[in-house]
Amino acid sequence: MTWGLLLQAVVSGLLLGGVYGLVASGLSLIFGVLRIINFAHGAVMMLAMYATYWLFVLAGVDPYLSVIVTAPLFFVLGVVIQKIVIEPNRAAAEHNQLLLTLGLALFFENLALVLWQGDFRTVKVAYSGASFMLGDALVEVTRLVASAGAVLMAVGLFALLRLTDVGKALRALAEEPEGAALVGINVSRIRAASFGLGSACVAAAGALITPFFYVAPDVAESFNIMAFVVVVLGGMGNFVGALAGGFIVGLAESLGAAFLPGSLKQLVVFVIFVLVLLLRPQGIFGGSRGR
């Protein structure tokens, strides 16, 4: 074991963690307000990645800039999904709601397969290959940007929830669903907005990921499970916690890769997941919901 290896593992782990946190913040928000575990989260991100790809290929729009277009677009998509599929079933059993989002995930993933086939696409921008060394450790600029984006998103969401009316309504709904209606909050609209906002977040995540990953109908599988682990770790509904949780998961995975044999790094993450679920289900940083 060399220090170089350790340094690299830590650096890549943080960069990876930033990406996980980025993907997970929207999921955390959705869970905090709507109390549903959204299995379709990764699929929505995948659609957003395709949107980013097409904007780049057809109109030459830089992926980072395309967020200006895709975020609002997916906000609307999120609202539509929530109103059509999720809201009518809000009183259904929790496990049925899980299955709803699972059905949505299957639908979207295969919609992409039907429309664009299964071959991999890449967005190649000038800075795709940019990287520098931090000592012995490689830092890829695009991943760094994504991690920075994660921090920005967490800050942005935090500000949104503290400072704006919509944000306050979201928090009210998350903390006190019955009370929120009593003080005149348009509950159904806010619920829709939360799914919309969560989708907008994951769309932005997708845009930030495309420069260093690839675009294909099954990309969700690389991030879905990790996103859930991160949300649980960070505390459901706590997206600042999601950011921190992301870093923890990324570090665990990267260190696991450096020091464990085989492909056992996945195990490290799941062990942490189970331990947190058993011992501190409200998350390391506490969420808006206990059990």
Partner: protein
């Protein structure tokens, strides 16, 4: 039941498939439907069953008929372990589902990385010669009868439990665990019993799979497709009912065959439709097909 010997091979295959998934659905239903504990990781038990009987067969020449029971016992033990941890720490609803998912995934990762169980190369189950004492048959027909018997027994068990004291406790726990506790029901014990039965039965299905398809590997056995495949028939057919999983499988399996065949020009179109149907079924038939039938009957009775 006499029809199968006359069926062309292809149709017999589909029929066996339908009954197989019905069986897994029934096994899942004991925990998911009756006890109300929604497991997303039943593949863990399936895989334990498949690997146990197969390893014992390959290493010790033990007949899968016995290996199956040992696999079931091991799976039940694992289920109790998993269940005890989860229930003791108060995990409910989606949190419980996530934990079961995690356990199944962990088993998958461990088997991928363990050479002794074949890692990703999997295990080939010998099947060249027919040897009924070793759960190996020449044609498909014997497997059909075996899975039919398994379903029959599982259905009988489910029905019996539904009418027993355990069934009463299960229903109480499912409806409102706290109230049940107050009323003197041992919630933990009840749930654990359901878990043990459910995991035992699921493991038997794993052995059947291994003997029928003659090949297992970590993804086939511990992967999400088994976990999801086990719960869908019960949900669509009606969780917590005896015949629900059977109905569900008889609807789902041919449905997926049909959509696959009809939409085979476009890759993915069939699963897309499947996902849409899933959403529709959950939205409009939250109690499954059985629930729909009951509702109709109740309404008819009211007139």
């Amino acid at each position: 039941m006499a029809l199968p010997p006359l069926l062309p091979k292809y149709h017999l295959e589909v029929l066996i498939s339908v009954i197989f998934w019905a069986y897994l659905g029934i096994a899942w239903n004991l925990l998911g439907g009756y006890a109300g504990q929604f497991s997303f990781g039943h593949a863990a038990f399936f895989g334990i069953g498949a690997y146990t009987s197969t390893l014992l067969l390959l290493q010790a020449g033990l007949t899968p008929w016995i290996g199956m029971l040992l696999g079931g016992a091991l799976a039940a033990a694992f289920g109790l372990f998993e269940g005890y941890l989860s229930f003791r720490y108060g995990l409910k609803g989606p949190y419980f589902s996530l934990v079961t998912l995690a356990f199944a995934e962990m088993l998958r990762v461990v088997s991928v990385n363990t050479k002794a169980v074949g890692s990703s190369l999997g295990l080939v189950v010998p099947s060249a010669k027919a040897a009924p004492a070793m759960f190996m048959f020449a044609g498909k027909l014997p497997y059909y009868y075996i899975i039919l018997v398994m379903v029959g027994l599982a259905l009988a068990l489910t029905w019996k439990i539904g009418r027993s004291r355990l069934g009463f406790s299960l229903a109480a726990v499912r409806e409102n665990e706290d109230a049940a506790e107050t009323a003197g029901v041992d919630a933990l014990g009840t749930k654990l019993r359901a878990m043990a039965l459910s995991s035992f039965l699921t493991a038997l299905g794993g052995t059947f799979y291994a003997q029928y398809f003659a090949y297992i590997d970590p993804t086939i056995t511990f992967g999400p497709s088994v976990s999801i495949g086990a719960l869908l028939p019960a949900i669509v057919g009606g969780a917590g009912t005896v015949l629900g999983p059977v109905l569900g499988s008889f609807v789902l399996t041919p449905l997926s065959e049909l959509t696959r065949y009809a939409l085979r020009g476009r890759a993915g179109a069939d699963i897309m439709l499947y996902g849409a149907i899933l959403v529709l079924v959950i939205s409009f038939l939250p109690q499954g097909i059985v629930g729909l039938v009951r509702e109709r009957r109740v309404r008819a009775g009211r007139r």
